[in-house]
């Protein structure tokens, strides 16, 4: 990979209007994903987080404006070329009836395969490693439809990891996971970020997780980005009140010192 050009990051978009047919979700949106960051997007339900992620991964074509990947408009690349640079874990995927875990994870190799190259030793090694790092190796020969929601989520992540992309966009990777597996997942993301220098973008629901893991936080409301930057500088009680309509206290996380959000106790307290 060439080094990113001076001022601009590998992945950014300007002047974006994102819409489903006539229904505009975001207007005049500008977004930059800092290189080698662990960017977390937070915001209330239906504020357009998934829509933004879909635009950044060229799954949704902006009604106006362009997303740039490595200095070029993302839609000008061949589809497989994008998929070798940028992996997407969508919010919802469908496992076909009866498909095996290893089959599904192996699908992540598609952008690297060609007509004559369907299953090289490298494909095999990468798939094995992706399954090991997400802890699903023991499930390799089970059917995906026999798995629990949490196991399934890890299988999908393994598929995206098998894509071996330096940029990863993950839409709610921790849903369906119990607290321990949520932390495992986030630690894995942090490891990909710290040790391999991957750029990660994740939509998370838990603000405390976001504050603890993000190096760059994007806060959205009604299709707009209302705040961004390091969690320590961005997250305030006023912001959370404004964006989520929830009165909170922000205190330092006793474990990491990052901001920690504690909702005020509203029971019996008139506001």
């Amino acid at each position: 990979m060439s080094t990113p050009s001076d001022a601009t990051s590998r992945l950014h978009g300007q002047d974006l209007t994102l819409a489903y047919e006539q229904r505009v979700i975001s207007r005049d949106l500008a977004v930059t994903i800092p290189d080698h960051s662990f960017t977390v997007i937070v915001g209330p339900n239906a504020c357009g987080k998934s829509t933004l992620l879909r635009a950044l991964s060229r799954t949704l074509k902006p009604a106006h404006g362009h997303v740039h990947l490595d200095g070029r408009v993302i839609n000008s690349y061949p589809a497989k070329e994008v998929a070798r640079r940028l992996g997407l874990l969508p919010q919802a995927s469908i496992a076909p009836d009866g498909i095996g875990v290893a089959d599904l994870v192996a699908r992540g190799r598609f952008p690297h395969q060609g007509f004559l190259r369907q299953w090289s030793k490298q494909d095999e090694a990468v798939v094995a490693e992706a399954m090991a790092s997400t802890g699903v190796s023991e499930l390799a020969h089970r059917s995906v439809d026999e798995l629990s929601g949490g196991q399934r989520q890890r299988v999908w992540l393994a598929m995206v990891l098998a894509q071996q992309t330096p940029l990863l966009l993950l839409d709610e990777p921790t849903t369906y996971l119990d607290i321990a597996h949520q932390m495992d997942m986030l630690d894995l993301c942090a490891q990909l970020h710290d040790e391999r220098g991957h750029t990660l973008v994740a939509v998370l629901h838990d603000l405390n997780h976001a504050c603890r893991y993000a190096t760059h936080l994007i806060v959205m409301k009604e299709g707009m980005i209302v705040a961004e930057g390091h969690p320590a500088t961005v997250v305030t009680a006023d912001l959370v009140q404004d964006v989520f309509g929830l009165p909170v206290r922000v205190i330092p996380d006793p474990e990491t010192g990052t901001p920690m959000i504690v909702p005020l106790d509203r029971r019996g307290v008139s506001r």
């Binding site: 991964s57 969508p90 995927s93 095996g100 290893a102 089959d103 192996a106 699908r107 598609f110």
Partner: protein, 365 residues
């Protein structure tokens, strides 16, 4: 799951965890060629080919006028007794080849429709194509008194128009599978009413002709039909099989497929057009033979355990199903000839129920 290791479980344990179930890597020329082969799939495809060939030979030999098997090759080549040659070249061979071609076309088309709609019911029967074609044909027969070729053309035109209508009605931010099926059922019901109305107004003989056309039959099909269906198959079959891998990715969801670098929009459009044309060709030649397009892809994926759509498997299964069904239709109640559509429903239906039953029972055990 049993606790003792079966030989298969032991073989799995030995296999690299990364290699998909039931598959073996095959690497040649210093990795310049690397493939995953699935022995079970290959073996069962060969079995299906053998079933097709054997049934073809038997279909050509048996009938009210029996031809001894040793005399069949000569008759196929045009030597041998005149009557043998007449029956083989003029009647039975084209009929059996038509059955194979129509079955394969319906198998592929059904698999494509099911894959695109992500719904086992998403066959041309259900999403309105067949119903549209049948209505077009009935209108052509009853209202315009059309010739056979005109009936076929009317059927294709009406089938395509209906499929397009259903597609447009079901479309909202791309086509959702269940919407396609629901709209298709609604449109089919309305077209069925139109057909019934036309029938009530028709002369008895005409109504009977239209009724037989609607069940689907291979009676009296000759070389023009063979050429028509096999030319379509030769052009569209490889095109669709070539799209097969992309279709299997699109079954994971549009966003997932696009994230992996599959151009979903063009793939959907090309696959839909190709499968519609194949269905049209099959219906034009044999009428709306029921159930093959619905059952063949399901039978193939369950038998081959591919965990996804298999277009080649569906084609072979469709061909085998229809050629066997046609042999049964000719011989079961001989000399009475059954329409093949009746038999496909009985054979295909019972086989599918049996497969589903064993699969569900196996899962509970």
């Amino acid at each position: 799951m049993s606790s003792t290791l079966t030989p298969r479980a032991r073989a799995r344990a030995r296999q690299s965890p990364a290699t998909p179930r039931g598959a073996r890597p095959l690497r040649l020329f210093g990795e310049r060629l690397s493939l995953l082969v699935r022995p079970r799939t290959l073996a069962l495809c060969l079995v299906l080919v053998a079933v097709c060939v054997l049934t073809l030979v038997v279909s050509v030999a048996v009938g009210d006028y029996e031809i001894p098997l040793p005399a069949v090759p000569a008759a196929v080549a045009g030597y041998g007794e005149r009557l043998d040659v007449f029956f083989v070249q003029g009647v039975r061979l084209p009929r059996a080849l038509t059955a194979l071609g129509v079955g394969a076309a319906l198998g592929i088309a059904g698999a494509v429709f099911q894959s695109l709609s992500r719904n086992a019911l998403g066959s041309p029967d259900i999403i309105g194509f067949t119903s549209g074609a049948a209505t077009g044909a009935v209108a052509a027969i009853l209202v315009f008194g059309a010739s056979r070729v005109a009936v076929s053309l009317g059927a294709i035109a009406a089938g395509l128009a209906t499929a397009a209508l259903v597609y447009l009605l079901a479309m909202k931010n791309g086509v959702q599978g269940y919407r396609l099926v629901l709209v298709g059922i609604g449109v089919s019901a309305m077209l069925g009413a139109v057909r019934d109305y036309l029938m009530t107004r028709a002369e008895l003989t005409e109504a009977l002709g239209a009724q037989i056309w609607m069940i689907g039959s291979l009676n009296g099909r000759g070389w023009p039909e063979v050429v028509a269906v096999w030319v379509c198959l030769a052009v569209l079959g490889p095109l669709l099989v070539g799209l097969g891998q992309r279709l299997r990715f699109m079954e994971l969801g549009d966003d997932t497929a696009r994230g992996l670098g599959v151009p979903t929009g063009p793939t959907q459009a090309i696959a839909l057009a190709g499968a519609s044309a194949l269905t049209g060709a099959a219906i034009a030649v044999a009428g709306p033979v029921g159930f093959v397009a619905l059952a063949a892809p399901q039978l193939a994926r369950r038998l081959l355990r591919t965990g996804g759509t298999t277009l080649v498997g569906s084609a072979l299964m469709g061909a085998a199903l229809l050629v066997v069904a046609d042999l049964v239709a000719q011989r079961a109640l001989a000399p009475t000839q059954l329409p093949v559509g009746v038999v496909t429903a009985v054979i295909g239906g019972s086989y599918l129920i049996w497969l589903l039953y064993t699969e569900w029972r196996g899962r509970r055990a």
